[in-house]
Symmetry: C2
Subunit: 499 residues, 2 copies
């Protein structure tokens, strides 16, 4: 087994895309699989996903949602019931057509093929998203206004047959949560879609330390079948935007397609109003590209599977027993304080190699324990984000907890500062064209509202409207003219090149 | 919306199978979906699964396992690499052959079909189990003895195209965990397979309150591709056995098929030894059929999504405010003690209807709060398993916690007593035939070891060998002769009709 330091991480400045892949491989977050476009999420990456799930799940529960589980398969005719929806997904679905394998008789022993006699009467689509199957069930469960609102969420895998895939960011199969709700009124559905946008924002800012813009998608970027799509957008270190979550007000589109009606208090019959919303393992890609550096992963403490690694340093067996003993005690004290700690007692590996290894894996805090430290009742605390200082063994849990909080806050502030430094407002056409060449980040400007301008801008600069920003993100003064065509602006927009 | 008491649960004595389905529907644990053989797990059922996952996950982690995630799809050629394995699964796999839908042009607007131009070069199987894809990755990750043991687990959905399906017990898609490990020696793999059998047993007995037999499967019942399969078997209330988990020593079968080799300390090259093991949402079916009664679900307290329901009783508005206030305080006190409590303040529903509703949903403890109770500083504590008594509001958390512990222990003891009452040992052929007519439960007897006897017994009585029991379950005296053919017995076996 080659020692970890044998591999190199491509510097960001040299090739951002290579750097991204190297960080993932070096930290052992994920790996390529033999199945086209599907990845394997390795223990470190999966633990990070579990921590994300835990935090989001608490937030969903606190806002009245319950988890459930719906089938992986959707009859192809279901997908076709909502016209825009099938249009949006028809070109990227995995379709199950047979249910038995048989020996081919050629191609050697063990060569198999689908048995033609097992062809399904109606092919099944592997869910690319579950509106259709879920609203078919809602039609069965919802009878009266007393059954509303119905607030469900499911954690599951979905499949979208993507041509170009990238670890975490765009994979054929990915893990996500999809919330699905039904409401009595349009106002209730709108409030739900907005509430979830707020939940996502809190999670991404407070847990992932990733600042986000929120706002409305234009019709060309909204979810296939939605009335309105709200989205969150984060700026990566290469100044490209990542859509990190969406929340859709579906109106009555699916209710009509699946006949989800309820009896009102007055005795009438109405279609329900639906919302759906989701975030996925793509968030892990966003986390990586927001914080990590040329030494590898930088994990925000709240989502770091290992928050503190303790590295004892010894030369003799006697020293080993001494520093390991203190290391073990410190680990226990940290764990009792709810801190996720690991003690690295690997033999035949120098401390420097261990530091390098844990840095690549993004561990926020390292505690070094040498014989002299033991004698002095101290440890050396090194931060993944820079800085090293001696700290007392007494009260180490409080010291480490404070350091983790500072690192978490520091990462968020740094990411926010970086985003602001790569944001321009009230942009002119020429500024915009120049800005997008690099690309430069988020450009705010006036927009005439026409799909034609949108398409021209995309062709010319590869930039798209990420959101029509929510009030708190809008410029102090509303732009007067469309930054592209010069006609009157109807709304301020934020453009960027995007993942 | 019809009140809950309008539906009826078929009594067990009348039709056990109908009873089972009624319990599930009445408790809203799961529902049928429009997709053949696939079910929807509703919030109460899914929460129970989450509680199961939490407990098992802690046990897996405590024994050194880490979670990861592998692809849903497996190239069909992978499945075929291990001869027994493909033989075992070829007839029940969902196969993805296309990746795009197109409009048919006939059958009305929105009619779609797989686009022939999107046919995959190699069809993909939806995982029925993941040995093949996981061991292909192991081959990439394992180089040296220092990489061993590799101890992974994944929580996921799998698909087996079953002809006859039943909610939770046998569904086309189900949720499970599958552990996959690699070891340097056969002894290590054997120890792992046995260790997990012990983990499963502890979980099923201590959490599910479901007593289990453990032992070895005969070759005719072992996992396709395994060297040895160990299993857990529980006895349901209809005296049929349910296989509630399996743990396989896979030997080097898959290591050879996927070329998973490691360098030994001495510098040689060896194939690894694998184990795999799993339990699924089938456990929920086992839990239901072990404890529930003609009034509906009985959930063991440790896995009850709601452990205590508080039902205030009022006639006037003044009484309502009084009893609700006390109910709310009690709820807070219980939750602070880590007890999952719910306060039922539904209007327009009589207390009796609420009792009935929560009984059907299996809530272990009900606390009734009437105006006179408030005055006396007491509550009425009713157990789902029978018994009602006044208890003091002071110290209610400790009182309830003790009741929950007693209920948990009582359920386990009752299930164990029932199993023992439906177990016969050292059975003769005629006794066996008579016993299996009802069926009567577990029959222990001598077995000559021949697959021929096994097949004859199955044909004649529909009973199969559930396990060759582990030492602690064996009869005090080993049987001398095969209970069926009269030849010398080589091992004691336990037969039952099974799900």
């Amino acid at each position: 087994m080659p020692p970890p330091q044998a591999q190199k991480i491509t510097p960001r400045a040299q090739d951002f895309s290579e750097w991204y892949t190297d960080v993932i491989q070096q930290a052992e977050l994920a790996d390529y699989s033999p199945v086209r476009g599907c990845m394997v999420i390795r223990p470190l990456g999966y633990r990070m996903w579990e921590l994300m799930q835990g935090a989001l799940d608490d937030m969903f529960r606190a806002t009245g949602h319950e988890n459930a589980y719906f089938p992986l398969f959707i009859p192809q005719s279901f997908l076709a019931r909502e016209a825009e929806h099938v249009e949006g997904f028809a070109k990227e679905v995995a379709i199950v057509t047979h249910t038995r394998l048989r020996a081919t008789g050629k191609g050697g022993a063990g060569a198999v093929e689908p048995d033609p006699s097992s062809a399904l009467e109606e092919p099944l689509v592997v869910r690319p998203t579950s509106e259709t199957i879920i609203y078919a069930m809602f039609a069965k469960w919802i009878h009266s206004y007393r059954d509303l609102p119905l607030l469900l969420n499911q954690w599951c895998n979905v499949v979208r047959w993507e041509l170009r895939t990238r670890l975490f960011l765009r994979t054929t199969e990915f893990l996500w949560q999809e919330g699905h709700t039904a409401h009595a009124t349009e106002a209730d559905a709108e409030a739900e879609a907005r509430q979830i946008l707020g939940v996502y924002r809190r999670f991404q800012e407070q847990w992932m330390a990733m600042p986000v813009l929120t706002g409305l998608k234009t019709p060309s970027e909204k979810f296939a079948g939605a009335l309105r799509t709200y989205a969150l957008e984060a700026l990566m270190q290469d100044n490209k935007a990542l859509q990190s979550g969406t929340s859709h007000n579906l109106g009555q589109n699916f209710a009509k397609a699946f006949n989800v009606q309820y009896q009102t208090a007055a005795g009438g019959l109405e279609y329900v109003w639906n919302t759906s919303w989701g975030v996925s393992t793509r968030l892990i890609g966003g986390l990586i590209m927001t914080h990590s550096d040329d030494n590898g992963l930088v994990a925000p403490p709240k989502l770091a599977p290992i928050q503190v690694v303790i590295v004892p340093i010894w030369k003799s067996d006697e020293e080993r027993s001494q520093v390991s003993g203190v290391g073990g005690q410190v680990k226990t004290v940290l764990e009792q304080a709810g801190i996720r700690a690991k003690l690295d007692l690997r033999e035949n590996m120098k401390p420097g190699a261990k530091y390098f290894d844990w840095e690549a894996r993004g561990v926020p805090v390292r505690l070094e324990v040498g014989p002299r430290d033991v004698a002095a009742g101290q440890l050396v605390l090194a931060r993944r984000t820079g800085g090293k200082a001696a700290v007392k063994v007494d009260g180490v849990a409080a010291t480490v907890a404070a350091a983790l909080d500072q690192i978490q806050a520091g990462l968020f502030q740094a990411a926010k500062d970086r985003r602001e430094a790569h944001t321009i407002r009230n942009v002119t056409k020429q500024q915009f064209i120049d800005f997008m060449k690099t690309p430069g980040g988020f450009a705010y400007g006036g927009f005439c509202g026409s799909a034609e301008c949108e398409a021209q801008i995309k062709d010319a600069t590869a930039a798209t409207i990420r959101v029509l920003p929510d009030p708190e993100f809008r410029s102090a003064e509303a732009p007067k003219t469309c930054m592209w065509c010069g006609k009157p602006s109807v709304v301020e927009a934020v453009w960027a090149q995007a993942y």
